[in-house]
């Protein structure tokens, strides 16, 4: 990989003052796990809603020695992951990889890799709506007060309503969690299947919402618990099938429609995990 950056632009696109401002916000976020820190989000060359928060975090922490992996829906090859990866290759000249264990920084949209993350890795999540209470309380001033005063009754009311209506909690992604027993946090639209991976992780987890202008963080070895009721405990999704390519029974599976008569097959969402398993077996 070349390490030439784009002429006329600073390393990783953002100027140093902006990076410093974002790092200060990150430090604040790490000091208060799960608390949303406002920051002066900049317009980026990719649109709001397409990962600008994650991109700004990555741009602020990445350096020439880093190795970057970018995934979307668990795969390195989805269009937006390709677009973001090439953005950093162009502006930071950084080495990129598809192998989870080789990456120092992983930027992700909507999934956590199946491979366990280790000490020294940073995972950067792209977040559309950072406020977990948003759909129950549209007012920003009110939700800020609720977080400050630890008033989370309305969150459990929502879960109660789900059980009353559906017999179970009806949130299957962006499932709210409580961090270190204090802040209720939106983990970004990862499937609830991935929630347990956030708990007591060895890696540093950073969350960026560019359009909403918030950063939050979970430092390594932090307690992260999915909200539930004692008699309706949190459960992850299960499939009755194995991956059609690698045979995995414990990874998140994508459903592929194979013909127009309802034929379907199930395949690992994490493309790197799947490819590695196939490589090992053959």
């Amino acid at each position: 990989m070349t390490s030439e950056t784009m002429p006329g632009y600073n390393y990783a696109y953002l100027d140093e003052q902006t990076k410093a401002m974002i790092r200060r916000a990150i430090l604040k976020a790490v000091a208060i796990p799960g608390h949303q820190v406002p920051f002066g989000s900049r317009e980026m060359p990719l649109p709001y809603g397409w990962g600008t928060g994650g991109i700004q975090i990555t741009a602020s922490i990445i350096g020439p020695e880093d190795v970057l992996k970018v995934i979307d829906q668990g795969s390195d090859d989805t269009t937006n992951a390709v677009s973001i990866r090439s953005f950093f290759a162009k502006t930071a000249g950084v080495a990129t990889t598809t192998r989870t264990e080789e990456a120092t920084v992983i930027q992700t949209r909507h999934r956590i890799p199946e491979t366990h993350l280790t000490d020294g890795q940073i995972i950067v999540y792209q977040v559309p709506i950072p406020e977990p209470l948003r759909f129950m309380e549209p007012s920003e001033s009110e939700t800020r007060t609720m977080h400050a005063l630890e008033e989370y009754g309305v969150m459990h009311v929502k879960l109660y309503e789900d059980i009353a209506e559906h017999g179970r909690i009806a949130k299957s992604y962006d499932y709210p969690v409580r961090v270190e027993g204090r802040y209720v946090m939106a983990p970004s639209p990862i499937p609830k299947f991935d929630n347990p991976k956030m708990h007591d992780s060895l890696a540093l987890q950073l969350f960026g919402a560019g359009r909403e202008k918030r950063i939050y963080a979970i430092p390594p070895h932090t307690r992260v618990e999915s909200l539930d009721f004692e008699d309706h405990p949190f459960e992850i999704q299960k499939w009755d099938y194995a991956c059609a390519i690698c045979g995995a029974r414990d990874s998140f599976l994508d459903e592929i429609i194979t013909d127009d008569r309802g034929g379907r097959m199930f395949v690992c969402s994490d493309s790197d995990h799947c490819a590695r398993r196939v490589g090992e077996d053959s």
Binding site: D15, R42, P47, G49, D77, G167, R211
Partner: protein, 365 residues
């Protein structure tokens, strides 16, 4: 056997090549130049500068060309470019009283010192498609424009209409005199409650269509403020900057501005006074400046003790949804793959349906 889809990178490269071809259009047609856009589509350029929050006519013209005429896309390009520009500091406040006025009208008085100067306006045109414009090479200014209308006889500086009311003490004065440094939305995120300085900056960058609708709603009873146009003025204003090394202001150039001041519903009974609304755009942007003034005034409802009757008076609603770069990004992000979350929902919904079917057929899980 099914192989995981690859080739996203190649697909994107091909899409970009196709885009470039579409942008160019039929090759036998002359390529449009930045000069042509700047000169002949100047109102597009003006809008892109205002919402892009960057005064540079050539950059804006390039953005319009690159965006193939999609002005919201062009605004995005300009904003992203703006992020990369180094910042020297803040200029002195622009003094619109010293504007070289090219257009100035007032609806509150029949005649005013300085006169009603119509300037270049669509206002009294008949909206009939003019087929003579379909040809090219037409000589500029044969019938429509005549001599003597580029500032001859227009006093400079042009006295302000609202100063007339101000001298009588019958209109509130602008500025609370608390002299605090205005906030900068390009550096700090929006925080509520937002002061008037923050609101005005947000509205200055806001989408014209959105503000137009909000302003319109305030006229139709969703929080009415009885607006009158006190003054609209358009023309060139000098921008001054104080370089640290010199310590005194120097003029760094001049820009075109459109300014709108409205006179609104009075407050108080004994010491009754009219209230104000304010709008400002780069270039010629009257519809936006007027809409901005209407919404500015509507958002002052809490401070003036007025009941909130419509969304135009709701700061949280207006200020969080006014930016078309944010709005466009988030609306269009729905095109991105969401199949993992959709898969989660499929699993959930299939589970719910299975439970119901099992209950109906008397089976226990």
């Amino acid at each position: 056997m099914y192989v995981a889809v690859k080739g996203g990178e190649k697909a994107i490269a091909a899409a970009h090549r196709l885009l470039a071809r579409e942008r160019r259009g039929a090759p036998e047609i002359a390529e449009i130049s930045l000069d042509q856009i700047r000169e002949q589509l100047s109102l597009s350029v003006d809008r892109v500068m205002s919402e892009g929050a960057l005064y540079d006519e050539d950059c804006a013209a390039l953005a319009v060309k690159q965006a193939r005429g999609d002005l919201v896309e062009a605004v995005f390009l300009l904003r992203a470019y703006r992020t990369t520009l180094p910042r020297f500091g803040y200029s002195q406040p622009a003094d619109s009283s010293r504007m070289h006025v090219r257009r100035r009208i007032s609806a509150t008085f029949k005649d005013v010192p300085g006169g009603q100067v119509l300037g270049p306006t669509f206002d009294y045109t008949h909206r009939l498609l003019d087929w003579s414009l379909a040809g090219e090479g037409k000589e500029a200014g044969t019938e429509e424009s005549s001599g003597g209308d580029s500032g001859v006889g227009v006093p400079s500086p042009m006295p302000r209409v609202l100063d007339v009311l101000g001298r009588e003490g019958i209109i509130e004065s602008e500025g609370s005199g608390d002299d605090h440094e205005p906030a900068d939305l390009t550096r700090q995120p929006l925080d509520l409650p937002a002061g008037r300085d923050v609101r005005l900056q947000n509205l200055a960058r806001a989408d014209e269509g959105f503000l137009l609708a909000m302003g319109y709603s305030s006229q139709r009873g969703f929080g009415s403020t009885h607006p009158f146009v006190g003054e609209i003025r358009m023309g060139e204003v000098e921008i001054e900057f104080v370089p640290e090394e010199l310590g005194f202001p120097v003029t760094i150039g001049e820009i075109t501005l459109t300014e709108c001041e409205t006179v609104n519903q009075f407050i108080g009974s004994g010491e009754a006074r009219f209230t104000r609304g304010y709008g400002l755009t780069f270039g010629q942007g009257e519809r936006k400046a007027m809409s901005m003034a209407l919404v500015d005034r509507a958002l002052r409802a809490p401070e003036l003790g007025e009941e909130k009757k419509g969304p135009a008076q709701d700061a949280e609603f207006v200020l969080y949804h006014s930016d078309n770069v944010e709005a466009s990004g988030f609306v269009q992000h729905l095109k991105l793959p969401h199949y993992v979350d959709f898969q989660s929902e499929l699993v959930l919904v299939r589970g719910l349906r299975r439970t119901v079917r099992e209950e109906e057929s008397g089976h226990d899980i």
